[in-house]
Symmetry: C2
Subunit: 415 residues, 2 copies
């Protein structure tokens, strides 16, 4: 646990609430509106966020084209081009993009992120994912999604090559999946190396994080889940010769905040009512990696599920919640559609701050990746209401102290 | 031949002259200095250039690390991140980046360029290359550079998938090298589709250009070479159901310009004297795709060469020049090092304009890709001296008439 919490903002087209695009205060083309993103980045920087975070998938975000077009992020920029543009429209905030180890090559990826790092004066980070989506897989050949273990085996070697290149190890790498002869045509990073982020939560995913990551994003609903994940991951660090504090654990949080609790609830209900049932159920199916959930009665319980080759941790999360609260498919669909499996807090700034403080001081998080329900409204509300409350409590910085992402996060400069 | 000539500016770290980095008016870190690039882009835009052009290779630009570090582009940004940053610092100028069909996948590449196109309001272009460099190949596996024919076969299918995706053809592609199921998660381009550029000059390269390209870059020393290439390529268009004017042919030109001819010659000689012999010979070797040129007497003739699997057209160019002018290895090395195989003009604005006009009006070019010897000095000189001269002659625009790259180039909007 660090002295002050870290805050990222996860930018995503019209917003994280699946129905954000139907909200009267969003515009459907936000995902390809660079002025929209520049405004969000500046708001986040003025609020002293550590970083902007972008997800990625080279494909539609939902399998069904009709459903995909009815979600908050039906269209959107490719994140490297987006963050490169934001790099020259901001001066301090970190810029983290997701990129896949399954559909890229390490030389090109290492080069692109180091280039973004130089462009931004040392503010870049790479969120390593192995890409669990079969939708994405179908755009990269006919053989389908590779097994979980194979993806992670490739990811491990991939990360090793990338960090080797970042650290100027010119000596050729010859391995199982990759062979790379030369160094990059770039000098070393202004921050030592771009920040390594990871978001896998399976056993092998956690091991990879403990070995290589500086930051980990997670999805945890309850304090207990978050705490268990936190302790488990920090506990794995020693085996890799690292200190627990060398990795910052930042669960996603989907807040809806207003001056009064009633107002916040009203805002949230307004969004929930915009979710079409078919969209909610389809999203739930993708979390569960099954395709025929719509065959089951929507007001009945979840059926028995085959083990997922996709997002194991996401599936487990849904199944557990369904058992714990006895929720129907419709209820689960609404629940997960609303926050996409992330932790949701609806309330006043004090209430949101209380919850964040409890997880932070309770040793369940080093910070949070904030996922506003719709943009710019809910980011504005978080920046105007919650950030000052956290600052008053001494939980968040008043000013940036350094100029690099690594400095914001209090990470050691790699040697 | 179009009414007015098209002009691109090829941005490249400290400059196109191999010794630009040693010039007193450049700085060695220009290749990773975003402010340097922003200033260049703004100069080019103020001069109404059609576009900025970036080369690309995922690897060192010279095989020998020691030599690579002694060239004008020893370090440099990855071009997509660079152009994305420039997109939000400019408003009109086109943004063209090279990207390889050998080390990318079509879904990802189509997405990235369309994203840049949306970021820039319809100003993006893709320069398709198959990547002839064995240096680059060694960073993508242990099997080495693939044969020329195989690279082009992959490139043909690659281009077909990319343009299909840009035109919103959602129907899955299942082919020899690629299988792509879904459409992109982006609406169609503000300019119909990003501009397709091509720079291969072999027979199969020309055929691919005639089939798919909107713009072709070439390297031609003499009027006759340029004219022959021009006529050949325009002549290939009908076979693909296209008009000759649907493709714009823009040879590279490396001008050194000053108020007087003597001054221009002096500037050029100053640069030539900065070239170390070992660097010149190494660069020449890479154009010839042979590795042991240094074994031959530097003041003797070129040895007999094996046929290249790399840049066939480049090799032919050097061999021909060597025969025609009876040049020694040292002389060839200096000659090609100076302009990297491109057409060089040293003189006053009127002399440079005369030469460009002769090729343009003589039906050997639709425009030119300008390769300044060093930055910013020689771009500034071209913008201040040559552009106004071309404008006075009615050969170049006074103002942008449209907002997209396709509009600048006078290309039809694809349906
Ligand atoms: C906050 C967060 C963001 C994520 N973003 C992405 C993403 O952008 N792209 C992606 O393919 N997976 C993303 N994931 C999924 C994970 O990275 C990972 O691929 C997935 O959890 C499967 O790995 P696991 O089986 O180790 O959990 C994200 C997960 C979390 C918690
Ligand atoms: C102006 C110009 C720029 C080029 N830029 C690149 C480049 O950035 N990267 C690359 O791999 N090849 C580049 N090339 C090489 C060609 O694209 C092509 O790969 C090469 O000429 C081999 O193809 P060919 O055998 O058809 O000529 C360039 C060529 C020209 C004329």
């Amino acid at each position: 646990m660090s002295a002050r919490m870290k805050l990222g903002v996860f930018l995503w087209a019209t917003g994280h609430h699946i129905a954000a695009w139907r909200h009267p205060k969003t515009h459907v083309t936000a995902g390809i509106d660079i002025d929209h993103y520049i405004a969000l980045a500046r708001t986040a920087e003025a609020a002293k966020f550590d970083m902007i975070f972008c997800e990625d998938a080279a494909g539609l975000r939902e399998a069904n084209v009709g459903i995909a077009s009815q979600t908050s992020r039906s269209i959107g920029f490719e994140p490297i081009s987006l963050l490169s543009a934001l790099a020259v429209q901001t001066t301090r905030i970190g810029l983290v993009s997701t990129a896949s180890t399954s559909y890229n090559e390490p030389y090109g990826l290492a080069r692109t992120f180091l280039s973004l790092d130089h462009l931004s004066g040392g503010r870049a980070g790479w969120n390593l994912v192995t890409s669990a989506s079969p939708i994405e897989a179908a755009n990269f050949g006919a053989t389908g999604l590779k097994p979980h273990a194979d993806r992670y085996e490739r990811a491990r070697e991939f990360a090793e090559v990338v960090t080797g290149l970042w650290h100027g190890k010119a000596s050729g790498h010859v391995g199982q999946s990759f062979s790379v002869r030369d160094p990059l045509d770039l000098p070393s990073s202004p921050q030592g190396a771009p920040v390594m982020v990871q978001a896998g939560a399976s056993d092998v995913g956690r091991d990879l994080a403990a070995r290589t990551a500086d930051v980990v994003f997670t999805a945890a609903q309850t304090f207990e889940e978050a705490k268990a994940f936190y302790d488990d991951l920090k506990g794995r660090m020693a085996a890799h010769g690292r200190e627990p504090d060398d990795i910052k654990i930042m669960p996603g949080v989907a807040p809806v905040v207003a001056e009064t609790e009633a107002e916040a609830r009203e805002k949230f209900e307004e969004l929930q009512e915009l979710i079409p049932d078919d969209v909610g159920v389809t999203l739930l199916s993708s979390y569960l990696s099954i395709s025929d959930l719509w065959r089951y009665p929507i007001d009945g319980p979840l059926p028995e599920l085959p083990e997922s080759e996709g997002m194991k941790s996401r599936q487990a999360l849904v199944v557990e919640q369904s058992r714990r609260d006895g929720l129907s498919i419709r209820q689960l669909a609404r629940h997960f559609a609303g926050a996409r499996g992330h932790w949701r807090i609806v309330g006043t700034a004090a209430q949101v701050a209380d919850e964040l403080q409890a997880r932070f001081e309770g040793g369940a998080a080093d910070g949070f990746n904030v996922m506003p329900a719709y943009f710019p409204g809910e980011l504005d509300a978080f920046a105007a209401l919650v950030v000052p409350e956290l600052q008053r409590r001494g939980l968040f910085r008043m000013e940036y102290e350094g100029t690099t992402l690594r400095a914001h996060l209090g990470l050691k400069r790699p040697s």
